[in-house]
């Protein structure tokens, strides 16, 4: 812990484009009470000078809501994937080391392209197939207890922290990662979402699906919103097993 007004030492891994050379750049930022990593980056943006007083270009990074609900500001902070908005500087070891997430294509400095996360949501049919926008009456009744579990799953902000933390996610395995699997569970729980349940199970049993999970359980700790990822994956495992049995019996 440091005093909140002391100077903050920040190291940023800089790579200005996919092919560019990576280097570390150090910054000194005046601390203010309650400061988070985003505030440091915004200070650098307004004062783009490194710790040696040399002018440089601002650090590029993604952020938006600053309330840990939009999922934009994921980065590696002291080696751990998390949201920069809730990374309060006086709780961090210094120098604070910032790196881009490593499992997504780099765009610039701390900005990465996480489009693949949304592609996975397509693969698992991450929607409810309603008939249209017209008012045909209410949705089905859902017991409040069941809703509460669904609500925990639907808090997933697709930030990519669990994917970054999962040792199974790599270019080789093409594993879709915990978030998308948990969303499959979410939709299969919903009384209307269940319409597509079998297709969803088939999707997660395909390449890069649930069979790639090696139960490392890093995801639960990595999730900033406490989405019960391993619980969901365990449920999904049971559901896919039953699905196989049913398929076999139906042959």
């Amino acid at each position: 812990m440091t005093s909140p007004t002391a100077e903050i030492r920040l190291e940023v891994r800089r790579q200005d484009g996919p092919g560019a050379r990576a280097r570390w750049e150090e910054f000194l930022v005046p601390g203010t009470p309650g400061m988070n990593v985003i505030s440091c980056l915004r200070w650098i943006q307004a004062n783009p000078v490194d710790s040696g007083g040399r002018p440089t270009t601002p650090v590029a990074w993604d952020c938006n809501c600053l309330e840990e609900v939009c999922g934009a500001c994921s980065m590696l902070i002291n080696g751990r994937a998390r949201q920069a908005c809730t990374a309060l500087v006086d709780e961090l070891q210094q120098p604070v080391r910032l790196e881009p997430l490593s499992k997504f294509p780099l765009v610039r400095v701390l900005v990465v392209d996480r489009a693949v996360l949304f592609e996975h949501l397509k693969r698992i049919l991450g929607w409810i197939s309603i008939d249209g926008l017209h008012d045909v009456g209410p949705g089905p009744r859902v017991p409040e207890k069941q809703r509460r579990f669904g609500y925990r799953l639907s808090g997933c902000m697709t930030c990519g922290s669990c994917v970054e933390a999962c040792p199974q996610v790599s270019a080789r395995t093409r594993f879709m990662g915990p978030a998308a699997l948990a969303q499959a569970v979410y939709f299969n729980l919903s009384p209307l979402g269940r319409i597509d349940a079998e297709e969803r199970l088939e999707a997660v049993m395909g390449e890069g699906g649930i069979s790639q999970c090696a139960n490392a359980q890093n995801c639960d700790n990595a999730c900033p919103r406490g989405v019960p990822l391993t619980t969901a994956i365990a449920r999904l495992n049971r559901a896919t097993s039953w699905h196989l049995v049913r398929e076999w019996l139906a042959r």
Partner: protein, 577 residues
């Protein structure tokens, strides 16, 4: 499939609903957004969505909801569109329910509704204190379904630059830049819907997300779109002040029974409950904020001598804190490192919402033919002050109307607009180039700080003509200094500094509109409170209409639609609505 194609700018609730409504009419739809749709600012909405659909709320109905909305807005909202919105609300909530939004339920599984500020009826459907997130995701999932079917295309990471107008001044598409590569291109369309949200960044720190700069609306205003009621800016009574932003603590806390107090003579003074016995802490936001301001600033009773009060949740049951207020309680714990279950929260008022926006007609079309607007960037539904729980509703209802209107309009839009589009691309490339090469002495981020300070000090809770004159002078000065900015990053792609400099240009134009509108409105109404003119004066029961000129906004006044409800003075009995 129809040949008509619709371009939607903005991927929050309003934009997504417009996209779905247009796609459902078999239009081809392109959605352009600065961020992946799921990260839009709608995700931050906490409290809930209003719909008079609760069988338990005796005496409530769409008409009562309508009355609350009109009175809460101090009669400045157009009554026809507001009435249609309130009538559509129950159907919209049922639709969200079918989409799977994780609304809180009664134990037997029906939708549950909570009280919310500005009303006496339990009318607000909610999902913990993350209702916006749940509803945004529900729509995002439907958009993804259309995307997978090839009916909606998404352009995420693109920034809107300008509308492409044809020789008749009609909108035939838009020009935008791909932020990652710097590529500028035209998006031809039979009709365009802008749904680009609010403008909290004009005030420096606000409850808004960082991308809520109002830049798109400002650019369109610069192209001739009329901007209406800009001076009406809602300040929310309760937010956690931080060095980077004001984090909203929504009215849902008050709705669940939290109480606001300050210490006075060694005792707790529940000043809102004392002053507004009928509504107590759930009094309309503008009245609550002015009272907090008065207690803290004039009477000097703010917590720690600052503009801060206690928001006390310590007496609420654990279940309410952890389920009904989930999200909000965690937010406070995370950023303040104190437990609201044990210690009263310390909160301050913060700029939250713009009631004003692009002028639209009842079909949501702006003053530029073929250009529609929905959500916070338009002015239609909230008058002089927005009711809690009505923003999500106005986004969804307005988006639905805009999407359908745009589809119908596009059917009639024929002829080649190619030359106009290309000319606009050339113009925008030149503008980007000139901004990128700015090598002056000013720092854009410091200019922004100065703008935020002037706007917050002079153009928020308590306004005076002298203060507004000072703000106008400051805005003029900043406009001149903008020309002397230095852009210190030469990169073509992912150049956030150059992007911000462009946005700042449009922000200054909108700031001018807001401050001038406030200066000329010599009365107090809703969120606009002027010490020199403390009473409502119905000679000003008029819509402020601002048009761009190179010398600053030209302000005129238009009639308000008062067809159902005649104006009455606001009394405490109806202090909320």
């Amino acid at each position: 499939m129809r040949t008509a194609n619709i371009l939607v700018i903005g991927g929050g609730l309003a934009g997504q609903m417009a996209a779905l409504a247009a796609a459902e009419q078999n239009c081809r739809v392109d959605v352009l957004s600065l961020v992946p749709l799921r990260r839009s600012h709608s995700v931050c909405a906490q409290g809930g969505i209003n719909a008079a659909a609760n069988p338990k709320a005796q005496g409530d109905g769409p008409w009562v909801h309508f009355e609350d909305t009109i009175r809460g807005g101090d009669y400045l909202a157009n009554q026809g569109p507001v009435k249609r919105m309130c009538e559509a609300a129950p159907g919209i909530v049922r639709l969200l329910d079918r989409m799977g939004a994780a609304f809180h339920r009664t134990p037997e599984g029906f939708l549950d509704f909570r009280l919310f500020d500005g009303s006496k009826h339990r009318r607000t459907a909610y999902a913990g204190a993350t209702t916006g997130q749940q509803i945004l995701y529900a729509l995002d999932e439907q958009v993804r379904r259309y995307e997978a079917a090839g009916m909606i295309r998404k352009f995420e990471g693109w920034e809107f630059l300008s509308a492409a107008l044809d020789g008749n001044g009609s909108c035939r598409g838009a020009v935008a830049v791909d932020l990652a590569s710097g590529e500028v291109r035209a998006f031809p369309a039979g009709a365009v819907v802008v749904a680009t949200g609010g403008l909290g960044a004009l005030f420096g720190r606000s409850t808004n997300s960082l991308l809520n700069t109002g830049a798109a609306a400002g650019a369109l205003y610069g192209q001739g779109a009329i901007y209406a009621n800009g001076e009406f800016i809602q300040v929310h009574p309760t937010a956690i002040p931080g060095p980077d932003k004001m984090r909203l603590i929504s009215g849902s806390a008050l709705a669940e029974g939290a109480r606001i107090w300050v210490p006075r003579n060694g005792k707790r003074w529940y000043f809102l409950e004392e002053k507004f016995p009928a509504y107590g802490n759930l009094v309309a936001r503008d009245l609550a904020v002015r009272e907090i301001h008065d207690v803290c600033c004039r009477q000097g009773l703010g917590v720690g001598g600052e503009l801060k009060v206690y928001l006390d949740l310590t007496e609420l049951p654990k279940d309410v804190l952890e389920v009904k207020l989930a999200g909000l309680v965690q937010l406070y714990r995370r950023f303040m490192r104190e437990d609201p279950a044990v210690v009263p929260m310390k909160v301050s008022p913060a700029v939250h919402y713009s009631m004003g926006g692009l002028w639209i007609d009842p079909q949501q079309m702006t003053s530029i033919p073929g250009l529609f607007a929905a959500g916070e960037c338009e002015y239609q539904y909230h008058g002089a002050n927005r009711l809690g729980g009505n923003s999500l509703l106005s986004c969804l209802h307005g988006g639905m109307v805009a999407g359908r209107s745009a589809g119908a309009w596009a059917d009639g839009a024929h002829g080649d607009a190619g030359a106009g589009l290309q000319a606009e691309v050339v113009r925008q490339e030149a503008w980007l180039g000139s901004v990128a090469s700015m090598q002056g002495r000013e720092n854009p981020f410091r200019l922004h700080e100065e703008l935020g300070r002037a706007m917050t000090e002079q153009v928020t809770v308590v306004r005076t003509n002298a203060g507004l004159d000072a703000a106008l002078e400051k805005i003029q000065e900043l406009k001149e200094r903008w020309d002397d900015i230095a852009v210190c990053d030469p990169a073509k792609g992912t150049n956030q500094s150059a992007s911000f400099v462009r946005q700042l240009h449009h922000m200054l134009e909108l700031a001018h509109v807001i401050a001038l509108g406030a200066r000329l409105r010599e009365e107090s109404r809703g969120s606009h409170y002027k010490v020199d003119f403390p009473e409502r004066d119905d000679r000003f029961l008029k819509t402020t209409l601002a048009r761009f000129t190179p010398d600053g906004p030209r302000i005129e006044y238009g009639e308000v639609d008062l067809q159902f409800l005649a104006p009455r003075p606001r009394t405490d009995e109806e202090a909320g609505p």
